[in-house]
């Protein structure tokens, strides 16, 4: 046999063996992680990515995965860029993932149309397309525990509580400073509607990517002199905005970031000036929960942690943990129906749709009072979960409000209308939830 023939024979053998290799798959579930640890969004991207990986490591180390099925993952750097995100998705698609966390609203918009075709669940936790909360139109997309529109309405409710009632909003000036992208604009329609309803003056101030230059925006803020500022920022934009706010002498306790604009890395650069800055969140900050104790015991003390020890408990690190927990619990839910084995995208989708995280279950995963119970249904992929307000005291974040319910009466009809609109663009039809089980 010549060398060439030998080579061909080896190739043929490999081709023949390939199906058997695939059949002898180890028991694991693959999760692609689209992260950004470099570029202008790295200050926000790093803690989330670390939180994610830490929780998955914890599950593997402590429990041996989910019901014996190991979690494997691979990170891919997107730099928060749509094109690189699509490239990452296509590259990792080859490893048969069951779900994807895009971690960028723009990438989410690009992946939503692919989800039903590729049978990969898009889980955009608290970001992405708000309209996708209507599960009847978007069976493959989930954005619980709550979305941008709910958040905006909850923040307005919080402001009204501070002012002494919803009717006191009348005539108040509220500015929304937003990242000029799909992400930042997402909250605008709801804010506009609420401005009409409660007759407050809304100013929409855009900050262009990447947000390092905001002098013009803050000049406008000084001229408008708003009573409250709500911010949808991300990455380096947050710390610049907080520094600018401090330097123009804006009352920091009247400056509320959304849940992507309130991390340690956002406030620390502004130093003393950031004291009093508030942010929305849907889980508590800090490390006083059982899950963190486990994290220390099973991950960090073994030297397997991905963040620095002192960064654990930062709001965005906790966000990564919560997100990973939702993913794991959805897979676990799917296993109750399909068995403890590696699952397909369709099976995991069922798991997401039937996820019911009760208070009791949260306690079991060591997250009692860390986050709010969530129940996902076929109609509602958002859960319309409540929001907390946390405040920075110069050293740490502490929660300063009760759980604030979003204005479902305003938000849900908007979601249903927008879902029809968005689904029409993609040529979807509405499914009948009474036939789902």
């Amino acid at each position: 046999m010549t060398g060439r023939k030998l080579w061909l024979a080896a190739l043929a053998a490999l081709v023949l063996a390939a199906p058997t290799l695939a059949a002898a798959q180890p028991k694991e579930v693959f999760i692609p992680l689209l992260v950004y640890r470099t570029g202008p969004y790295a200050p926000s991207g790093i803690p989330i990515a670390d939180g994610f990986v830490d929780y998955f490591t914890l599950l593997n180390e402590r429990d041996g995965g989910i019901n014996g099925v190991k979690l494997v993952w691979e990170e891919c750097e997107t730099q928060y860029d749509n094109k690189q995100g699509v490239e990452c998705y296509e590259r990792l698609k080859g490893k048969s993932p069951v779900l994807v966390n895009p971690y960028s609203t723009a990438i989410t918009y690009s992946l939503i149309p692919k989800a039903p075709v590729d049978k990969i669940v898009v889980f955009s936790m608290g970001y992405g397309m708000s309209a996708a909360s209507d599960g009847r139109w978007f069976p493959w997309v989930f954005n619980f525990p709550t979305n941008y529109w709910s958040q905006a309405s909850a923040v307005i409710r919080y402001i009204s509580q501070q002012e002494g009632g919803l009717e006191k909003l009348k005539g108040k000036k509220i500015a929304h400073i937003f990242h000029n992208s799909a992400y930042g604009k997402e909250a605008n329609p709801t804010l506009e509607e609420l401005a009409k309803k409660y007759q407050f003056e809304l100013s929409l101030l855009a900050v262009d990517h990447p947000g390092q230059e905001q002098k013009a925006t803050w000049l406008q803020v000084r001229r408008l002199n708003p009573d409250w500022i709500f911010m949808s920022g991300w990455g380096v934009m947050n710390q610049v905005a907080i520094k600018e706010a401090a330097s123009v002498g804006f009352k920091m306790d009247h400056f509320i970031g959304n849940w992507w604009s309130a991390n340690d890395s956002d406030v620390v650069p502004a130093g003393e000036g950031a004291k009093g800055y508030k942010g929305a969140t849907f889980h508590a900050p800090g490390t006083s929960f059982k899950v963190h104790a486990d994290l220390m015991k099973f991950v960090y003390d073994k030297g397997k942690g991905s963040a620095k020890k002192e960064d654990v408990g930062a709001p965005l690190h906790n966000r990564g943990i919560v997100n990973a927990m939702f993913v794991a619990e959805a897979i676990r839910t799917a296993m109750t129906k399909y068995g403890n084995k590696p699952l397909t995208g369709e099976q995991v989708r069922w798991g997401f749709e039937n996820l019911n995280l009760t208070e009791q279950r949260l306690e079991q995963v060591g997250m009692k009072s860390f986050t709010h119970p969530v129940k996902v249904t076929c109609e509602d992929h958002e859960g319309n979960g409540p929001v907390l307000i946390q405040q920075w005291d110069g050293k740490k974040w502490s929660v300063v409000s009760d759980w604030i319910a979003p204005m479902r009466d305003v938000v849900r009809p908007k979601i249903e209308a927008a879902a029809v609109e968005e689904a029409k663009k993609l040529g979807y039809t509405m499914r009948d939830c009474s036939k789902e089980k």
């Binding site: 640890r37 750097e77 749509n82 094109k83 296509e90 723009a106 075709v117 708000s130 000029n180 799909a182």
Partner: protein, 358 residues
């Protein structure tokens, strides 16, 4: 070269003026085009089509457009991203307003819209030159992006400001939208690029191209011999923007599927300019080589550590990728400032004499 053109006599003007006067060149190029149409859809997987070949084709078209303007007519432009955005948004508006309109017609019309906008922003080129013109075209970039961000009409009042490519068919096959196959989108992109490359090649060797080059080389001299600067420069802006517009439509419809204005920001303008400079100013082949370099090298670098079994942290890997990429750009510019196309030409000339160089 491995082949000799000796014995190929040109007996007619047509033969002398052919795009590829040498038979072997013709055969090789024809074979390459046929292979491009046949091979990838058969062998390439979705990752290759979606993440490598389609972006390459889209960027090649944009680079082709900018090369006409910067490489041939000598007008430096940093507005490419803006003109691509015009094409993309025009295509989106047209196809949502007239869903039954053939998608190729939509692409061409959106190219025409971009050409119109390009003409408008080309007007300052009559007064300002060189770097100053580059700054003036920056205005186009920023203004257009601002416009698409500000006016919700362009996105059909989508709350997020995102435009999404709807499903459209060509000859009964889905070629855009989420349900279209990657091969169908690849073939559409390839068809567009092939046709427009042929047109560009013929443009630049005809009267129009010669007048562009005359303006580029010495505008006063060109004016004296009867080239009208107004018409010539505006034509260059118009045609270049047409190409960029079609490329922008392709970026959204054939490649990304959905996009916001961020996809067309200033970095795209620079990226396309780098493609033209690295590929070779004033060369059609250079546009393709430059696009291939800029699109492929980062992907190769991103996949290389995996291929050799090296597991690096993603951040480190990205930083190495950026450094190596930057280093390669500098290397190629030092080795051959006139671009990859010139490098290829030199290789051909050397091979022609091989093995007896004198």
């Amino acid at each position: 070269m491995i082949y000799r053109e000796a014995g190929q006599f040109k007996t007619s003007y047509a033969a002398d003026q052919a795009v590829f006067p040498v038979v072997q060149d013709r055969v090789v190029v024809a074979a390459a085009v046929v292979a491009a149409f046949v091979v990838p859809p058969l062998v390439a997987n979705e990752y290759w089509l979606q993440a490598v070949l389609i972006p390459f084709l889209v960027y090649a078209l944009a680079a082709l457009g900018l090369n006409l303007l910067t490489g041939y007519a000598g007008q430096l432009s940093l507005g490419t991203g803006g003109f691509m955005a015009v094409g993309a948004y025009a295509a989106f508006k047209l196809t949502t307003a007239f869903p039954s309109l053939n998608i190729v017609v939509v692409f061409v019309l959106s190219g025409l819209v971009a050409a119109g906008v390009g003409l408008l922003f080309g007007i300052p080129s009559l007064r300002i030159k060189g770097f100053y013109l580059a700054v003036a075209t920056l205005a186009a970039q920023f203004f257009l992006i601002w416009l698409f961000n500000k006016v919700a009409w362009f996105t059909n009042y989508a709350s997020s400001g995102t435009i999404t490519a709807p499903d459209r068919t060509l000859f009964g096959v889905l070629v855009t939208g989420p349900n279209s196959s990657a091969s169908a989108r690849y073939l559409t992109a390839l068809g567009l690029v092939a046709v427009f490359a042929v047109i560009a090649k013929n443009l630049v060797r005809g009267r129009v191209g010669r007048s562009w080059m005359a303006i580029r080389d010495r505008d006063i001299a060109a004016e004296i011999i009867g080239v009208r600067p107004l018409r010539t420069k505006l034509l260059a802006f118009g045609i270049s923007s047409f190409y960029c517009g079609v490329a922008g439509a392709g970026l959204v419809f054939l490649y990304l599927g959905s996009a916001e204005t961020l996809a067309f920001d200033i970095s795209i303008s620079f990226l396309v300019l780098f493609m033209v400079i690295i590929g070779g100013l004033g060369s059609i082949l250079g546009s393709f080589l430059g696009a291939a370099f800029i699109v492929l090298v980062p992907i190769v670098l991103a996949n290389a550590p995996h291929a050799i079994g090296l597991r690096l942290p993603v951040a480190l890997q990205k930083q190495i990728e950026l450094m190596v990429f930057g280093g390669l750009i500098i290397f190629f510019l030092i080795v051959e400032p006139r671009g990859l196309a010139r490098l290829w030409q030199i290789t051909k000339e050397k091979l022609r004499l091989w093995p007896f160089p004198h």
